[in-house]
Point group: C2
Chain length 295, copies 2
């Protein structure tokens, strides 16, 4: 049987080429890693659990890629540059091949975004991967969700429901569906976050579904919203706005600014509730995903 | 049934009184938390899994306290001041009472060390708590494990085997044993780390057992050691040096320095192996804990 220390060894050098540009003085292997950037640091953690965040038969490489990717989506939502991540893995597997595959997916995303693995933990147990991510502002601008202003315009950047369609396709055996990749290897919208970091008044990622997350942004800004349902590009049906796993950004722009290339879906209001406008007569029930209710 | 968002609410304000002293600009509730300290940041993650890191019948308050405490031990090993932590909790429980108890233990340790909860994740799944900790140097000195020097003296600060004795007592129903507290509520040696941060040449915490961790420190320093077994204070028997869960610090001091109050157990050598000296004729098998081998 292989040992914990052999498994850890596989991950040791992921992203080590980027230590310097990421302000990392000490990478994995000690009790802690050390950053020295002299800038603000943003940080978040996201867990990935079998049959909650990915199907039991997902390719192991994709499980690794996805675990880091969905956490990076939180860095994107802050309009920041990702610099590093840690992985805490609980796994029932003893075969070194499983860890090699996992590390392949992790390495793919680390290289794609030039981020460094700086530490982690590995324990035997039910499959559960926690990715902790760290980022730094591109240009002193950090986006938040509680700073939308009255009259601001609300945007997203792509159709809703792609992730959910991908998961359904995978589960029903349609593994060649173009949406499967949206689910298994979602792209954190780092570049979008960078592009809007100087102009957006507020931002959130849509991991729990557009409406759930929009609601969080609007409520934490203590405001309301008017949403033009017919303008939202959907994948399957309008209920896609309640589906999670899209990892797009939903953001607000002051009304006097104009930006191209993004999808204008509504306006921030002062009425403390979310109203829907639709000429198609859509009936929307805002629930979104709750891990303890949607069973 | 209660909701994920109600459970999260319980943890929201833990350590909020310390945001300012800990350089926290934005606490939990957004996609990321934000630090702004303009100092190096040390960070680590530790997972706590049922029947691996705590017995299934451990009090829930203690599970919460312990999950954070064992992660803080990594900050202590770097000789740093803890400032903040995140919690990623996977839990099968739906009762709000369980989360209230967990948060009580978490609040206890947050107040004891004046640290702030800055974020986390909560998902339904097998019980698994990941604590991510963040710290900053007291005085520009950060300790590492790979910097021991030839001839340095090796120290610990307390008897080995207390945590293990506590776990055994708990499992055998002897819940009033004085060692139970050592296991369920271990104290991260933050003050010790601070005290030695200016004089120690290297340091590691003894979470995996004194010998396993001493070996890691010596090997990563590319040196050897001579250990005087008879000087090591034990709880049950000499095999306590292979038992985990003590969370003491094992550190080295240049030979020309003298420090009081700690236990001198050996010397760093240039021989690339660890030799044991004992007039009592102890026979030591260095294994230490490996999550994938010790079953």
């Amino acid at each position: 049987m292989s040992s914990e220390f052999e498994f850890i060894e596989i991950f040791q050098r992921i992203g080590a080429d980027y230590y310097k540009e990421n302000g990392i003085i000490l990478g994995p292997g000690d009790d802690c890693a050390i950053f020295n950037l002299n800038t603000p640091i943003v940080t978040s953690v996201d867990s990935s659990i079998e049959d909650v965040h990915f199907p039991f038969d997902a390719p192991v490489e994709d499980i690794g890629y996805r675990a880091v990717s969905i956490a990076l989506s939180d860095i994107a939502a802050m309009g920041c540059r990702p610099i590093a991540f840690s992985l805490s893995v609980s796994s029932p597997f003893n075969e070194i091949d499983w860890y090699m595959k996992l590390s392949k997916g992790v390495k793919d995303i680390a290289e794609e975004f030039r981020i460094s693995l700086i530490g982690g933990d590995l324990t035997k147990g039910p499959l559960n991967i926690n990715a902790i991510v760290y980022g730094t502002p591109y240009d002193n601008n950090i986006l938040r969700r509680d700073t939308a202003g009255i009259g601001d315009k609300i945007y997203i950047s792509k159709p809703v429901g792609r992730g959910s369609a991908g998961l359904n396709a995978w589960k029903s055996g349609n593994k060649n569906s173009p949406f499967v990749k949206d689910y298994l290897r979602p792209k954190p919208m780092i570049k979008l976050g960078k592009n809007i970091s100087k102009v957006a008044s507020a931002c959130i990622d849509t991991s729990d579904g557009l409406l759930t997350d929009l609601k969080k942004m609007i409520h934490s800004s203590k405001l309301g919203a008017r949403i033009y349902l017919d303008t939202i590009p959907i994948t399957s049906n309008i209920n896609d706005i309640n589906k999670g796993d899209d990892y797009d950004l939903c953001f607000t722009i002051p009304k006097e600014l104009n930006i191209d290339n993004y999808i204008y879906i509504g306006d921030v209001t002062d009425c403390n509730e979310i109203n829907f406008i639709s000429e198609q007569g859509y009936d929307i029930n805002i629930t979104g995903y709750d891990h303890f209710k949607n069973e």
